[in-house]
């Protein structure tokens, strides 16, 4: 009884019986939907309205005779998309490992190793950021910056905002990993891992939309 009361001292439930932290993260994700909707709208409205190249899907020759290839690199982005999708798998396995710690089937197995899955998720997120850094750098070398044309402005703003969200997610995951190494995450901590997981999956679903709308549709 004393233990139960002690646990409740630190948990703030709402009148719905739901933890306010989980309500907060869902409300935050809802607001983020509208943020990314505005960025995606801007990209789509400006799409095809750039006066000068480079362009995403078409080659362009400048008045000075310089030839620019279509700038988007679909194979590289496809791999980075796959990496982000697999990071979501690693994230759900990290949450399952924390929630089921000590249960049969999880003790002493890879499935029950939350450190492994948290580290894998963070590493895959960092790999995605590496792909994005490579893409941005190659675009700048090929003549596309945020100031070049409408495509450059809207593209770097949209994907840059997404990359910033991934960066926050990787830092969040590394914080959880640090806590796991420091004192070990237990089933009582499953909510804090769940909240991080919800954020991470949201970043993933935003990329699903960006990959189709920006990269695959001409």
């Amino acid at each position: 009884m004393a233990t139960a009361e002690h646990t409740h001292e630190h948990v703030h439930y709402t009148a719905t019986g739901l933890d306010n932290r989980k309500i907060a993260i869902w409300a935050f994700i809802g607001s983020e939907c509208m943020l990314f909707a505005s960025l995606i709208s801007t990209y789509l409205i400006y799409k095809g309205r750039s006066i000068v190249g480079p362009f995403p899907h078409e080659a362009w020759t400048s008045p000075a005779g310089q030839v620019f290839k279509p700038i988007l690199n679909i194979p590289v982005t496809s791999v980075s998309t796959f990496v982000l999708l697999m990071s979501s798998l690693a994230m759900v396995l990290a949450l399952a490992a924390v929630e089921n710690r000590g249960k049969p089937g999880y003790v002493g197995t890879a499935l029950g190793n939350s450190k492994l899955w948290l580290a894998t998720t963070a590493a895959l997120g960092a790999t995605f950021l590496g792909f994005q850094a490579f893409e941005f750098t190659s675009f700048v070398h090929e003549g596309l910056t945020i100031r070049t044309n409408l495509f450059g402005s809207s593209f770097f703003t949209l994907t840059g905002f997404h990359g910033a969200h991934v960066t926050v997610g990787v830092l969040w995951l590394m914080t959880l990993l640090f806590i796991d190494f420091k004192r070990g995450l237990t089933p009582k901590d499953s909510l804090i891992v769940d909240i991080c997981a919800l954020y991470w999956h949201f970043v993933d679903v935003v990329w699903i939309a960006i990959f189709t709308l920006v990269y695959l549709i001409k």
Partner: protein
């Protein structure tokens, strides 16, 4: 377990096998999207609608299974789907407003 805790964690989560199959389906759909990008089908009028449908399917799978919204409290569903509907209506309205879509 108290009522509060029960309300918060009453939902069940998918098993490892389900998670694995979700990942396989997401990978196959992504591979298919990229494959049709390199086929003559990309010039078809059905290319964009197909890609949008496949993207929506992937979006829904991640939200329902990885974000556990299928198993979660209806308040969380409302907190997500409400703004999502507003966001999609906003995108559609702006595309009509700037003549990217025609009635």
């Amino acid at each position: 377990m108290t009522d509060h805790q029960h309300a918060d964690h009453a939902h069940e989560h998918p098993t490892w096998t389900q998670y694995k199959w979700v990942a396989i389906v997401l990978t196959v759909i992504t591979a298919f999207e990229v494959w049709i990008y390199y086929t003559p089908f990309k010039d078809s009028p059905f290319f964009v609608p197909l890609l949008l449908i496949l993207s929506a399917v992937k979006f829904a799978i991640v939200v329902l299974f990885y974000m556990h919204l299928k198993y979660d409290h209806k308040l969380f569903k409302a907190l997500f789907t409400g703004p999502l509907i507003i966001a999609m209506c906003t995108i559609t309205a702006l595309l009509f407003l700037f003549s990217k879509l025609k009635a």
